[in-house]
C-alpha cells in the first residue's frame, strides 16, 4: 500500500490562526480509495486538518497555512483554482447544513455554479448521487420540496449527495454523525463503506468506536500534533504511543 502513489501527500504542514498554532509540522499520506480516519480530543486540530485539504481554512480571518499539500502530486495552493479543488475535494460538515432551497436544488447547486444548464444532465446527476447516498427511495417523489423538511439523518445524506453530484475524488467527513441517532449513524457509516469503492474518504470523528468500525488507517491528533498514524486494526490493538492507548481506552477525552 505504501508504494502506491498517494492521493494526498502532506509535508511539513503548519496552520496558525493568528498567533495560535493549531497544526504543527504534519506529515502524512492518504492513499486512494481508503477510509482514513482521524481521531483525537476536542481542539486537537482535526477539523482544521480537513479544512486545510480543501482550503476552507482560507475563510478564517488571520489564518496562515505553510508547508506542502499535494493532491495527485499537484500543489493545492498554486497548482489549481480553489473552486476546482473544492469540487474535487467535497466536505460534509458536522451538522447537516442544507441550503434553504429544494432537495433538487441542493443537489445540483455545485453543478449549476459550474455553469451546467442541461436539464437532462442535472436530472441524471440528482438521481445518481441520491442513489449513491441511499436517499433516492425516500425523496424521489418530493424532490421539489424544501430540504429543511427532511429529518436530520436524511439531511446529512442529502449533504453527501450534494458533493457526490459533482463527481469528486475525495470526500471529507467532519464528525458527520455527531448530531444523529444510532440508526441514522449506522446508515451513514454503511454509505461510507460503499462509497470507498469510488472515492477516497477522510473521516474525522470523536467517536473512537466509529473509527474502529469503518477506518482502514487511523491518525491520532493531540493538541495540533500528529501523535501516531497506523493501520486502524493495529492502532486499536497495539498502539505505539502511550498517549494513543490512553485516549482509546478512555483515560482522557
Amino acid at each position: 500500500m505504501v508504494s502506491a502513489p498517494a492521493k494526498f501527500s502532506i509535508a511539513g504542514l503548519h496552520v496558525h490562526y493568528g498567533k495560535l498554532c493549531v497544526l504543527r509540522d504534519l506529515n502524512l499520506d492518504i492513499q486512494a480509495n481508503e477510509i482514513f480516519t482521524v481521531i483525537g480530543p476536542a481542539n486537537s486540530g482535526k477539523t482544521t486538518f480537513l479544512h486545510a485539504l480543501n482550503r476552507l481554512v482560507d475563510l478564517v480571518p488571520d489564518s496562515r497555512l505553510s508547508g506542502d499539500i499535494r493532491l495527485d502530486g499537484v500543489d493545492i495552493r498554486c497548482g489549481l483554482e480553489v473552486e476546482a479543488l473544492r469540487r474535487k475535494v467535497g466536505i460534509v460538515f458536522a451538522l447537516p447544513l442544507p441550503l434553504p432551497i429544494s432537495i433538487f436544488e441542493n443537489v445540483v447547486y455545485g453543478l449549476r455554479m459550474q455553469g451546467v444548464r442541461d436539464a437532462a444532465v442535472l436530472d441524471e446527476a440528482v438521481e445518481r448521487s441520491l442513489h449513491e447516498s441511499y436517499l433516492w427511495d425516500e425523496v424521489k417523489d418530493r424532490l421539489r420540496s424544501p430540504a429543511m423538511n427532511l429529518s436530520g439523518g436524511q439531511q446529512q445524506r442529502l449533504c453527501m449527495a450534494r458533493i457526490l453530484a459533482g463527481r469528486p475524488d475525495v470526500l471529507l467527513f467532519d464528525e458527520p454523525t455527531s448530531g444523529l441517532d444510532p440508526i441514522s449513524t449506522a446508515r451513514i457509516e454503511e454509505t461510507m463503506l460503499n462509497l470507498k469503492e469510488k472515492y477516497t474518504i477522510v473521516l474525522v470523528t470523536n467517536n473512537v468506536a466509529q473509527a474502529a468500525r469503518v477506518g482502514e488507517r487511523t491518525a491520532f491528533f493531540l493538541m495540533g500534533d500528529l501523535v501516531e498514524v497506523s493501520a486502524t486494526s493495529k492502532m486499536f490493538t497495539a498502539p505505539a504511543d502511550s498517549r494513543t492507548s490512553d485516549y482509546i481506552t478512555g483515560k482522557f477525552g
Binding site: E83, R86, G90, L97, L99, P100, Y109, M113, I163
Partner: protein
Amino acid sequence: MSARLAQKIAFTILLLATLLVVLPVIFILGIIVAKGASAISWEFLFSMPRDGMTAGGIFPAVLGTLYLVLGAVLFAVPLGVLAAVYLVEYSSDNWFSRLVKLAIVNLAGVPSVVYGLFGLGIFVTFFRFGASILSGSLTLGIMILPVIITSAREALESVPRHFRTVSLSLGASRWQTIRHSVLPHALPGILTGMILGLGRAAGETAPILFTVAAFYLPRLPQSVFDQTMALPYHLYVISTQVPGIAENVRYGTALVLLTLVLLLNLAAIVLRSRFRRKKKW
C-alpha cells in the same frame, strides 16, 4: 411604603408615560382626518389646481412626489445595496471600512435642509441640472442612502455564516456565493429598508425646496429636467404662503401625504413579518 404600593405607583407611571407617547399620534391623525376627509374626492386627487390653488386638485403634487420618490429609490437602492455587499462580504475590518461606516452614521445625522443646500450646490448649479426632478431625486437619494445601506447591511449579516461556507465548499466562487446564497435570502430585509427610505423621501420638504419643488405649476412634468410640485412643499405653500385656502383643502393635502407615507410603512411591516415567518434557519 409597602412593596405592593410601590409597585402600583410604578405601574401607573409607566402606563401614563406610554399613553402620553401614543396620545399625540392619535390627536394628529384624528384632527387631520376630521378636518381633511371632506376635501378628499376623485377630483381632488386627480385634477390640476386652479385659481391660484384655491380650487381644483393636487394631482401634480401627488405625481411629482411619486416621481421624486421613484427617482430617489432608483438611484439609492442599487448604490446602497452594492456598498452594503462590499462592506459585509468583502472588506475586512480595517481603517477604511471603519471610516466608511463612520461616514454612513454621520450621513444619517445630517439635517435635511443641509442636504437641500448640498443638492443646490452640486446638482442644480455645478452639474447644471437646474431645479429639476433629476436634482431633487438625487438629493433625496443621497439623504436616504444611510437608511438603505444600514438595513441592507443588517439583512446581509442576518444570513447565516454557514450558507456562505457551504456554497464555497461546493466550488462556488465568492461572487456566485453572494449572488445565489446570500442576496436572495437578504432580499426581503433589503426591500424593507427600501420602503422605509421611500417613506422618508416622500415626506421631506427641505431637500426638495431648492432643488425641484415648484410653487405653483398646474401642469405635469414632461421630463426629468422639469420642475414639479410635490406634496410636502405644496402643503407648506398652501398653509403659510397663500392666503384664502380653505381649511379642508390644507388638511386634505396633509391627509393624502400622511396616507401615502403610512401605506409605505405598512408595506414594509407586512413584508418584514412575512420574511420572519418564512425564515427557518
